[in-house]
């Protein structure tokens, strides 16, 4: 019982963290790795840092300012 409660709390924490990071344009790196492993196992995935830079550029460098009035 107690163990499940702890898991749940960790789940919530992860979700909050994911939400805050996605608010500034950073999707979860783990999901990207999972996608690459499943669909493109032959290709070398971006490192965590490269992934960060890639998303930073996508959010702020291009037309998608992603902001409203």
């Amino acid at each position: 019982m107690k163990r499940r409660g702890v898991m749940k709390q960790r789940d919530v924490m992860k979700r909050v963290r994911d939400m805050l990071r996605l608010m500034v344009g950073q999707p979860p790196y783990e999901a990207y790795l999972a996608h690459m492993a499943h669909h493109h196992p032959e290709a070398a995935p971006l490192t965590r840092l490269e992934f960060f830079r890639n998303r930073e550029q996508a959010r702020y460098g291009g037309a998608g300012g992603g902001k409203c009035c």
Partner: protein
């Protein structure tokens, strides 16, 4: 049986609205508004959003979204719906829902409350939800492309040009609000200026010291922000540094224009990204704190339900309740700009079609709640203070005594001492004619936060915290918007001169940036030098343009429903489209042609033009050069209004034509991407 709790909730909401509607004179608690709004929103979400999802759109949980069939782990990622809700809400909620309702409070709290509640339920949330649905069924394409796909290339180009113009006006009006909030305020100016070196340090930290640690760097940045606010008090009091950080509106205008150009040319990791972390997290935190603060404090509303300005003649903005209230509160009730967000990153991240009501409709309800809080904030202030802050200097004079006299004459008795004391409480030289909405909201937030933490000794801190919070995300919107505007412009010019598109050389980028900054800079300068304060002129133009974009998005939604052969449900989008067209076309026409110089741009230009010919100077102008500037600005604004009217009327023509063509067809003609089933992929 399952409907009973909802029926009770609906009755509670209706009862609260009834209390608000019938109480006159006796003080009403702000919580009546909050409960009325929240219960209306929940009932609307449970029934109307579900109705639209099931019957109008026929969402299919088994049909794969772009995030599934195009998954790449980068742009297309199936995301938990609660996580995505946060992302979408952070992208749509900005300064608009905070400023518009504050300005609308000049007519009393009731009209704004009703418009926010009914507007969002029937128009704003429907628009966001429909555009998200349309984009989600078309690989997450953007609004301009969607219009092109469903209504043809000409309509697509017109929509794109309209969106660019709206962007220009939004940037100008947002920058103007910052100018109004920071002019002659060394404390505010210092804290906001301090965010630039702070952001640069954060950028260096995420680049070289601890790359990618957003949480860490944001906490450090937040500590820096608080330090800047605390230090700002001493800076403002210092005989040397105080004047260094005191700027006239004109000087601030040039600083902002230079800053906007520079910020969009610097590498994004250095300034834009770190400041966006600060502004995004501060925004979410401050909104949550405001909600808690209002519920804990449960303040009484001091603004009357209706003021005498419902018929027109108000000092903060001109015009009567219809149609001008409905364009003054744009964001929060219905905001066309959201169509760009709902067809931006969100449709690429949504994991299942059945998540769309929660994201599209739900996040907009949340923004309406923010607007309700801003309206509450403005309405808990002494109306005397409200009108002293929001009337132009031309009406009030510049010192507390003349302002108190003018506001008392309006029917809101206030003493010069109250105005002076309020200014001292919040640590400013004066609060007279601090137009633009942001300072008013900051005074209200200081009132609420000081009630919860710190008492009146902390008011000055909380006031500058609120100013910083508003200025920070407005500035982020200004430079992100300048970048976005630059790419829109490159696309538009690229239609005629293909070599102008992005990626060929750096020259088009610099030219487009310069053009974009010059366009919003022109309107900003015009607003700053406007003797009536500028907000008066620019906010209605912004409101009209934003609501027109909403009308365009809803017309696209109508076309899509007709082409899906689901036209029996088209009333869901036709009713709000019709209302927005009535409001914006009549407001636009009045702004253009009204014979009242306070409302009509051309009448104003004619009045000042005639005086100019006669060689007399009319107040508030002080010289012939100012007179010429006023006439010129009026004509530019009139031209802009005419352009917006042309955009919306031509798109109306395309909408009707496309709908009739769709009716003649036997089967659906809609251009959806082929359906992929979740199980099959």
């Amino acid at each position: 049986m399952k409907h009973i709790p909802w029926i009770i909730l609906a009755l509670v909401g209706a009862a609260c609205l009834a209390v608000l509607a019938v109480s006159r004179g006796e003080p009403v608690n702000a919580l009546w508004i909050v409960v009325a709004a929240v219960s209306s929103f929940l009932v609307a979400y449970r029934y109307y959003a579900l109705f639209i999802a099931r019957h109008v759109m026929a969402l299919d949980g088994a049909r794969a979204t772009p995030a599934i069939y195009r998954a790449d782990g980068l742009d297309y990622v199936a995301t938990d719906r609660r996580v995505l809700f946060g992302h979408h809400f952070a992208a749509i909620a900005g300064a608009g829902p905070l400023v518009g309702p504050v300005l609308a409070a000049q007519m009393g709290y009731l009209p704004g409350t009703l418009w926010i509640i009914f507007g969002v339920v029937l128009a704003g949330a429907v628009q966001d939800f429909m555009v998200l649905f349309i984009s989600m069924r078309r690989d997450g394409r953007s609004l301009g492309e969607l219009v092109r796909m469903e209504m043809g290339p000409v309509a697509g180009t017109i929509a794109l040009a309209g969106a660019f113009l709206i962007m220009v006006i939004i940037l100008a009006v947002l920058a103007l609000i910052v100018v109004r909030a920071l002019a002659e305020s060394p404390w505010g100016m210092f804290t906001v200026a301090a965010t630039i070196p702070l952001a640069l340090l954060m950028g260096i930290y995420t680049r070289w010291i601890r790359p990618g640690r957003i949480g860490e760097v944001s906490v450090l940045g937040f500590i820096g922000l608080i330090a800047a606010i605390v230090l700002g008090q001493d800076v403002a009091a210092s005989a040397f540094w105080g004047p260094v950080f005191t700027f006239t509106p004109q000087a601030l205008c040039w600083i902002l224009i230079g800053y906007g150009a520079l910020a969009s040319l610097l590498p994004v990791w250095l300034l834009l990204a770190p400041r966006d972390y600060l502004s995004t997290f501060l925004k979410i935190g401050a909104i949550a704190a405001l909600a808690i603060g209002i519920v804990v404090m449960a303040p009484p509303l001091r603004m009357p339900a209706l003021t005498q300005f419902t018929g027109g003649g108000g000092p903060a903005w001109s015009g009567a309740l219809f149609p001008f209230l409905f364009i003054t509160i744009a964001c929060g009730a219905v905001s066309g700009f959201h169509a760009l967000i709902a067809s931006g990153t969100t449709p690429k991240l949504i994991g299942a079609e059945t998540d769309a009501p929660f994201i599209g409709y739900g996040a907009m309800l949340m923004e309406a709640f923010v607007a309700i809080m801003a309206l509450v904030g403005a309405s808990i202030l002494d109306p005397g203070i409200y009108f002293a802050m929001n009337s132009p200097a031309a009406v009030l004079g510049t010192d507390p005594a003349s302002a108190a006299q003018a506001v008392t004459a309006m029917g809101f008795p206030v003493s010069a001492e109250t105005l002076a004391q309020t200014a001292r409480d919040v640590g400013e030289h004066t609060i007279v004619s601090r137009t633009g909405g942001a300072p008013t909201l900051a005074v209200a937030m200081a009132e609420i936060f000081a009630h919860i933490a710190g008492g009146s000794a902390m008011k000055a801190f909380w006031y500058h915290f609120a100013i910083l919070f508003e200025a920070l995300f407005i500035l982020t919107a200004v430079d992100a918007g300048t970048r976005a505007g630059r790419f829109m412009l490159q696309d538009l010019i690229g239609l005629v001169v293909p070599s102008f598109r992005a990626g060929t050389s750096w020259v088009p980028g610099v030219v487009a940036t310069a053009l974009c900054v010059a366009s919003w800079g022109f309107f900003l300068y015009q607003g700053v030098t406007d003797p009536l304060g500028g907000v008066n002129t620019l906010w209605p133009v912004f409101g009209i343009s934003n609501q027109m974009l909403a009308a365009v998005a809803l017309m696209l939604s109508t076309v899509v429903l007709f082409r899906m052969k689901r036209q029996r449900y088209a009333w869901v989008t036709v009713v709000p489209t019709a209302w927005l067209l009535v409001c914006t076309l009549s407001a636009g026409t009045l702004k253009l042609l009204s014979t009242d110089p306070a409302v009509g741009f051309l009448a104003h230009a004619a009045k000042f033009g005639a005086a100019l010919e006669a060689g007399t100077v009319l107040a508030p102008a002080k010289s012939m050069a100012e007179m010429e500037a006023i006439v010129f600005n009026d004509r530019v604004d009139a031209g802009l209004c005419a352009l917006f009217l042309a955009v919306v009327l031509s798109l109306l023509f395309f909408t009707v034509r496309t709908c009739i063509a769709a009716l003649r067809e036997e089967r659906p003609t809609v251009n959806e991407s082929p359906a992929h089933m979740v199980a099959a992929s």
